[in-house]
Every structure is written in C-alpha cells, then in structure tokens.
C-alpha cells in the first residue's frame, strides 16, 4: 500500500488516456484543419495553465505574469523564424537586405547583437527553455528569499508583465513593436503555413503537451510535490522540518515559467506570429482563469479548462460579441465564489461519486482552496 508512489493512480491514468483519445483521435478526425489549428492555439495556453497548477494550485504562489514567460518563449521562436524568413534573397528590396522587415522600416542597418545567435535552431530551442528559467530564477529567488509572497508577489509579477509589454511596444525597431513579429514562413525550409504543416504541428504539439503533463505529474507525485502542498498549508512547519521554503517556491515558479515558454514557442509555430498582446496583464490574468475554471489543483483540469473557456470565447465572440466579456467576468466570479476548485472539483465532488457509486466521498475540495495562504 505504501510502495513507491506510483506515477499516477488508476483514475488519473484513465483521465490521461481519455484526454489522449480526445486529442489524438476524436478531434483530428472530426475537425477540419482550420478548427484543428484553433484547438492547437488553445492548447498552447494549457501549457501555461499546467504550470500554474504547480505553482499556484499546489504551491500557493500566484503569478499574474505568466504572459511574460509565454512571450519569452514565443519571441525566441519568432526571432528564429523571422531570421529564416528574412534571408537576403527574400528581403532584397529593403535598403538593408537580410534583416527583418520591421528593422528596415525603423532605419536599423545591422542585425542587433541580441538577434545574432537566433540564426541557430539549437540555440533557439535552448533559449526557449533557459531564458525564462533564468528570469524566473532571478525574480523568484529575490522575492521568496525575502519572504515576499501572496498578494505582493502577484502585483509585482503583474508589473513585470506591464513593463515587458511597454518595452516591446516601445522598442519597435528591435521587437516589431505593437504588431509583433509577423510574416513567419518556414522552419528549416519547411513551410509552416500549409494545411499539411498545421496538421503535423498539431500532433507535435500534442506530443509536447503530454510530455509536459507527464513532467508536471512526476513533479506533483514526487516528494517535492507533497512539500509544495505542505508548504501552502503550513509554511512554518516545512521550514522547521529542515527545508528551505524559498528554494521550493522558486523551483515551482521556474517550472511554471518553462512550461509557459514551451507553450509560447509552440504558439508562434502554430499561429505564425507573436505579438505583445500575448504578454501583458490581460492575457496573463486570462491564463490564471483557465486554470481556475479547470481546477487549480488538477493538471488535466487545466487542459480542459483552457479548451472550454477558449472554445466558449470563440463561439460567443463570433455570435454575441457584447456578451462575451459579461460572460467571462461572471465566470470568474462564479468560479471563485461557488466553485473554487473548478471543473475538476465539480467532477470529483459531484460526478465521480455518482459514476463509481462506491460512495467513498472525497474530502470536500473547498476546504483545500480556502487554505491558499494569504501572505
């Protein structure tokens, strides 16, 4: 009974299998490429949501700046793709051929130093993973060592999201400004704009998503995951059991940052551009809401929450654009007030017991959500 903590229990494995069936078979078989690409776009946000489950749900650290990491990943990828699209041959009409078009428009005559290494795909992939991790490490270590947490951490991460947005918009010669980095074409010569490429990329992304789910599941099932939960509950006790609370929080924050960055990079590939509108305060909070709707404690819930909210957003804003914001706002409030554990909580407390009929009531999850620490 107390053997090595299994990677996942039976119902979790079943849940993963159902998700795999949905993403790998049902959706690709029933949706056209346009819709499938839309699903792919939504799924990129679920990487962020999974990260938030670890760092907010389990660890109690709410970051309102996940868009920063999504953006860092996305921009790294976009820089590589843009350089490939800006070959001397493609840009010969520019006054300086061989540099991205927006640089040329802003009278920049040489490729900036920071852009140079993004000619290499290997460097780009490493950067996608390492840049956000280092950034999160610096921010996390600085704040958690001084025991800044809770609301203050949320506000400061939000400010960082605002800063990065203003910076990107303001430095348009280097970043493409408000329009972002657009007109991305090929990946190592492979045209990513074709239907076929989108179809293939969808599966690449789903593979990455499952890698991410497994990684998150591994972390949560490890002793580290239990320490995160313990920390959210009784931070002092963890400290007096001999752990450095700041290090564990920083780790959770870094892990969430890396997940978000992978999502951002895939977003750039799927959608074909990256812009500051995915970096700032509004997208960052929306990503938190996907997590909250799915259930802040459930990895799979985060995926479903993201898919559902985005699907609702698309269909609502197509038919009743005025109602969408009202609906989204009401959803926030309803989830927070009535269902703090989101879809996963509803599933676990109301649906599952009826399905299994075993009548083994789980602990009410509301109690868990209430324990998310204040400061």
């Amino acid at each position: 009974m107390f053997d090595n903590p299994r990677f996942a229990n039976r119902s979790e494995l079943l849940g993963i299998a159902v998700l795999a069936l949905l993403l790998l078979a049902i959706l690709p078989l029933t949706l056209d490429v346009f819709r499938l690409n839309l699903v792919a776009k939504y799924l990129t946000y679920s990487f962020v949501a999974i990260g938030l489950v670890l760092c907010w749900g389990c660890g109690g650290v709410l970051s309102l700046g996940q868009g920063v990491f999504f953006g860092l990943g996305g921009y790294c990828m976009a820089m590589f793709l843009k350089l490939e699209a800006s070959s001397a041959a493609n840009t010969k009409i520019q006054s300086t051929p061989g540099i991205p078009d927006f640089m040329d428009w802003n009278q920049i005559t040489a490729l900036p130093f920071l852009w140079q290494p993004f000619h290499s795909l290997t460097f780009t992939i490493v950067a996608i993973l390492v840049v956000p991790a280092i950034f999160a490490l610096i921010v996390g270590a600085a704040m958690f060592k001084r025991r800044v947490g809770g609301v203050y951490f949320a506000i400061i991460t939000q400010a960082i999201a605002a800063i990065l947005t203003i910076l990107i918009v303001g430095q348009q010669g280097y970043t493409g400004g408000i329009n972002g980095i657009t007109d991305l074409r090929t990946l190592k010569g492979w045209d990513i704009r074709t239907d076929h490429a989108k179809f293939v990329l969808y599966f690449v992304e789903v593979a990455c998503l499952f890698a991410c789910i497994f990684a998150a599941q591994f972390i949560r099932r490890s002793k580290l995951g239990r320490i995160l939960v313990a920390m959210r509950d009784k931070e002092d006790r963890v400290r007096f059991s001999g752990y450095s609370v700041a290090n564990f929080k920083t780790f959770a924050f870094c892990a969430a940052a890396v997940f978000a960055a992978v999502g951002g990079a895939l977003f750039t590939l799927e959608v074909g551009f990256m812009s500051p509108s995915f970096v700032g305060i509004v997208p960052s909070i929306e990503m938190v809401i996907y997590t909250a709707v799915g259930g802040r404690l459930s990895i799979l819930g985060a995926v479903y929450g993201t898919l559902l909210v985005n699907a609702a957003k698309t269909s609502f804003s197509e038919s009743f654009p005025q109602l969408w914001l009202l609906g989204l706002g009401a959803l926030f409030i309803a989830v927070v007030l009535a269902f703090p554990n989101g879809l996963a909580g509803i599933w676990r407390d109301h649906v599952q017991p009826r399905l299994s009929g075993s009548g083994k009531p789980g602990k009410p999850w509301e109690a868990i959500a209430d324990k998310t620490p204040a400061e």
Binding site: L62, L64, V139, A142, M143, R146, R147, V148, G150, V151, Y152, A154, I155, I156, Q158, A159, I160, A162, I163, I166, L167, V169, G170, Q171, I281, V282, I285, V288, I289, A292, Q322, L323, W324, L325, L326, L328, G329, A330, L331, F332, I333, V335, V336, L337, P340, A369, D370, T372, A374, E375
Partner: protein
Amino acid sequence: MFGDYSLGDLAAIFAMQGFAGLILFSVFLLMALGLAIIFGQMGVINMAHGEFMILGAYVTWMTSNFFQAYLPALFSGYFFVAMILAFLASGALGMLVEWGLIRHLYKRPLDTLLATWGLSLILQQCYRSIFGAREVGVDLPQWMLGSFQVTDAIQIPINGVFVMCLTILITCAVAYVLYWSRWGRQVRAVVQNRVMAGAVGINTERVDRYTFALGCGVAGIAGSAFTMIGSTGPTSGQLYIVDTFLVVVFGGAASLVGTIASAFTISQAQSTLEFFLSGSMAKVLTLLAIVGILMLRPQGLFSLKVRK
C-alpha cells in the same frame, strides 16, 4: 544635449516639465487615494478600482451633458455637482460590491483579486453597452480653459492647476476622515484587530462596508477629475490599475504619507526621465526601478513600526 537652448529656454522647459510632473503627481495620488483606503487599510485587492474611477468619469460626462441641455446658465459650475454625484455613484456601487462579493472573500485575498478582475470585465462591458465603445470627453466651462501666462515662455494650464488643487483638497479630506474623525478611528481599530474592535463595540461588518464604499467613492472623484485633462473610454480604467497598485505598495501599504511620497517620487522620476528618453522607455525605467526597490525593500518606503 542642452546646446541648442538658451538659458532662458532651459529654465522655462524645466519649469514646464516640473509642472507636468506635478500634474502627473496629482493624477497618481488621486488614483491611489481610494486604493490606499481599500488595499492599504482593508487589505482588499480591488482590480476593478480603475472601473470605479471610470464610473465617476462617465457620471461627470452625463452631468455635463445634462447641464448643457437643460441648465446652460449654470454650466460653469456643473463640475462641482458632477463630483458629488460621481462620489455617490461609485460609493453606492462599491457598497453593493462589498455586500455581494468582497465580504465573502476577506480570508482569501488572492481569490478577491480574481473575482474583482471578473467584476472589472463586467463593468467594462456595461460601459461599452451603455456609453458606446468610443472615448468621450467633456466640455470644460469657459473659466477652466486657457492658461496662466507666468512669463513669456512659461504657461500653466488652468485645468491642470484645478486638478492639483482638487487633489490637495481630497487628500486633506481623506486624511481627516481616516485620522481625525470618529469613523476613521473605527476603521483603524478594525484594521488593526478585527476581533478586539468587535469586542469594544464596533460593528465591524458595517465599518467594512462603508470603508470599501468610501474608497470606491474617492475613486469616483478621481475619475471625475480626470475628465478635466483627458477623455474617457470603457477600458481606460485598466490602464491605471498597475500604476495605482504600485504607488500604494511602493509607499508602504498602510501609510497615507507613504502613498503621497511614493506618488510624488514616481511621478517626478517619470516626468524627468521623459525629458531625456522616449515616453515608453521612461515608463519602463520607472517601473523597473520600483519593482527593483520593492524586491529589496518589500515593505515599501514608509512602513509603520508597531509592536504586534
């Protein structure tokens, strides 16, 4: 870099720049005052604070239209009526929100943040549906237009001076209410020790409700004042929220003096930097400096030293 200007020009530029900084200071302080009550005193994160300001702005706009249409003779004084209406409207909405939403979440501050964000989305959409998506601006009465001609080169806009005076007035009023009135004593007692405040006979729930309403009402006045210097749209409130929170947190959440000092520091830093750099870089550097300082000194500029 000053080579192209004469000494007189430079003096004028600095004077104007300094005055622009003072207006920015007024704006920051007005925005932050309401939040200093709600977040600083009560510890509630109200992400819809900007929308409460915008409500005040829209009320002012409607009042101005009403006066133009029905009481043109009194138009020069409409603003004072508008300000009171803005205070009442935002305050009433605040009371409703406290009753329906905030009071259930006092023990879950992070959840308050999410719920009030949802509220801000709803309010934005309401504004858009009622007032339209386009920005609206009010017509200023004649006496507020134009500027004082201090010297040949230095002009000081009257509406700017008006906003500054208003800021000083409202700051004094808030300080009076919090620190010298009977009501303020109850607020501070509840903030320091909710249980004990109840045990000396203070109705803590009522205090919470009215305090929240007061903060929202002050936000409404701030929004009303902003119509004097700019136009208002449904999403204008969202632009302010990060700045506002940073002003309050940077000052040291529980201190009104801190809020004033921090609004002053931030506004002067930003307007000075704006002279040397592009607007966006000035903003980025200012925000970065604040975040950096907050990482080193999380308690903010002014922290109250109290024995627990």
